[in-house]
């Protein structure tokens, strides 16, 4: 996914002259969603501010924790706790903050409405965004996990499956929340809220650092952090946290379906 090619339209057979037009028709559904996802991913990876929140700041947090030994406990490297937490923050970065900001401005500039009138349609648009979030999250996971491994992180192999499920549920919940914000607030407000929430979640939301208060595990960020730490530190399932994430996903999706507005 690192080199999306929205420029290449393999099944498209461009005609030589703009005047000679064949009968119009839509590209197949799978191709439309894939191309939208590639376009969205390419746009995200070209955007410096998005790269800052999706990759650079989480990596700085990880390296900072490692260098300072902030989360080290007797007999255990702080990395074991830090990597799952940073991964949770990375989910919030891409699924929530980056999605909300880009979608909010697309709504302001009628890009959402414009793409909705193409063969892509509203469902294809949302599906393309979802696939793009998964693609960016895959890149984040590989990079953050890779840097963690290089620094000496040793996750519990038994936790890989529950960790992937937690990542997927977290991405779903935060994407729905991001779209809900983008589809209801003004883009400037979306920008401010999405960034502020990211800072709060990174600092005290139960992601990078284990939560100070138990109730934080009922928030999507706290639940995601708890599920990832349970999986990767102890190799365990955290059914309660996963249930919390599923409930947030359902609630945010229902709210987005109810209140999301495509036009400014």
């Amino acid at each position: 996914m690192s080199t999306p090619a929205p420029t290449a339209a393999p099944t498209a057979a461009p005609t030589a002259a703009p005047t000679a037009a064949p009968h119009a028709g839509a590209a197949p559904l799978g191709a439309r969603v894939t191309r939208q996802a590639a376009y969205e991913t390419g746009t995200a990876l070209r955007n410096g501010e998005q790269l800052l929140v999706t990759l650079i700041l989480p990596l700085l947090a990880l390296v900072g924790i490692h260098v300072t030994g902030l989360l080290d406990t007797p007999g255990r490297s702080g990395l074991d706790v830090a990597v799952p937490g940073v991964l949770a923050l990375a989910v919030v970065s891409s699924a929530f903050t980056a999605t909300a900001i880009s979608t909010g401005f697309e709504r302001r500039y009628d890009v959402l409405a414009a793409l909705a009138t193409t063969p892509l349609g509203t469902l294809g648009l949302v599906a393309g965004k979802a696939v793009s979030v998964i693609a960016v999250l895959a890149i984040q996971t590989v990079v953050i996990g890779g840097v963690g491994l290089a620094l000496g992180w040793r996750p519990d192999p038994a936790g890989l499956v529950p960790a992937l499920l937690a990542l997927a549920l977290g991405a779903a919940a935060f994407t729905a929340l991001g779209l809900l914000l983008a589809g209801t607030a003004r883009p400037e407000a979306t920008l401010a809220v999405a960034n502020l929430v990211w800072v709060l979640i990174g600092a005290v939301g139960g992601t990078v650092f284990p939560p100070h208060w138990a109730w934080l595990e009922l928030t999507p960020s706290g639940a995601l952090g708890a599920a990832l730490r349970a999986a990767l530190v102890e190799g365990a399932w955290a059914p309660g946290a996963l249930l919390v994430l599923a409930l947030w996903t359902a609630a945010a999706t229902a709210a987005a379906l109810r209140w999301f507005r495509w036009r400014p």
């Binding site: 339209a9 028709g25 009138t117 193409t118 063969p119």
Partner: protein
């Protein structure tokens, strides 16, 4: 569902019957459309004219399925655009008034992406060159001028070779050199049978492009027909006369004397007059006789120009204020009469 081939000129591509739409809430609640009837046919450009706030963009939104009517029927190739399938959407192209373009993406990347959503699109690069933005197409859209963005939006609208094109103010902000190119591209699509519904506030553009005109006023289509049908009655008998060196007072005296036969509109600051009721050579001869009697000799006589402008005035519509795009000054024909603003 049987599909109407785009290649059959005259076939209805779009039909609105008794369409109502209320927008806003509370005190801002306004019935924008109050029973709009409109038919748009393939192979022709239909121009939707009307003052700001008449409901032109609202009408377009209902036509391309971005909005749905409160009452009435909208049919695009016989189908409801609100529930449009991907293949029906592939037959529709939309150019948005405020662009519909992502500011941080380059024109080429965006138009190529839109093209990739169609089965058999036009060549995006050739289209960008054709619209004379190939050289700037690799810059982010926010760095293009207003007129360049307009053309990028047009490229995105037509790249799928749609059978029905909705263009909201397609030539606003274009400089005089690129306007004909845009006209040509629009014409190329009607030539292959596509239907075009466009809004514009530039009456000379409307006259140059329109096969059919629909005038929207207070939420209804008050006049509709071919440009020829609508303007024949309205302006066949009107002359603009410039009396050169004559004094405005002398012109006024003459106008008083003939007002029973020829309705005359005067411009009190200059020796010019707009004369109506000249329907035959004999009447023209009679008119010139009144000039001789008053010692007037015209420096210039011409058929009243801007026929649509007159049509709008006859319909009781205020013509819209001239808007200049970022690319340049309005062309001389853009000028609207003083006091015509609503």
């Amino acid at each position: 569902m049987p599909q109407t081939p785009a290649s059959r000129p005259g076939a209805p591509a779009l039909r609105l019957i008794g369409v109502h739409r209320t927008l806003g809430r509370g005190r801002a609640r306004t019935e924008v459309l109050r029973g709009v009837d409109l038919t748009v046919r393939g192979g022709a450009v239909t121009v939707l004219l009307g003052p700001n706030g008449a409901g032109k963009s609202t009408t377009l939104g209902l036509c391309h399925g971005s909005d749905r009517p409160d009452a009435g029927t909208v049919r695009v190739f016989g189908e409801d655009p609100w529930h449009a399938s991907a293949d029906l959407r592939a037959r529709i192209g939309v150019m948005w008034q405020e662009g519909g373009l992502p500011p941080s993406v380059t024109a080429r990347r965006f138009v190529r992406h839109v093209a990739s959503l169609y089965r058999a699109p036009l060549d995006p690069d050739a289209l960008l060159d054709r619209l004379r933005i190939g050289a700037v197409a690799d810059r982010p859209l926010r760095r293009l001028s207003g007129g360049q963005r307009q053309r990028a939006a047009l490229a995105a609208a037509v790249v799928g070779a749609p059978d029905l094109l909705f263009l909201d103010e397609p030539t606003a902000g274009l400089d005089p050199e690129t306007r004909p190119v845009v006209h040509e591209v629009i014409r190329e699509h009607t030539a292959r049978g596509a239907a075009v519904l466009l809004t514009t506030h530039l009456l000379d553009d409307a006259e140059r492009l329109a096969d059919e005109v629909a005038i929207l006023r207070a939420g209804r289509v008050v006049r509709a027909g071919t440009l020829e049908q609508l303007t024949r009655v309205a302006d066949g008998d009107v002359l603009d006369v410039d009396f050169g060196d004559a004094s405005p007072a002398a012109v006024a005296t003459w106008a008083d004397a003939v007002s029973g036969t020829f309705p005359v509109t005067l411009d009190h600051d200059s020796p010019t007059a707009r004369v109506a009721g000249v329907r035959s050579p004999a009447e023209l001869e009679g008119l010139t006789g009144t000039w001789t009697a008053h010692g007037l000799f015209p420096a210039r006589i011409e058929r009243a120009t801007l026929r649509l402008e007159r049509l709008l005035q006859d319909t009781g519509l205020p013509t819209e204020p001239v808007q200049t795009g970022p690319d340049g000054a309005p062309s001389p024909t853009d000028q609207t009469p003083a006091g015509s603003r609503s």
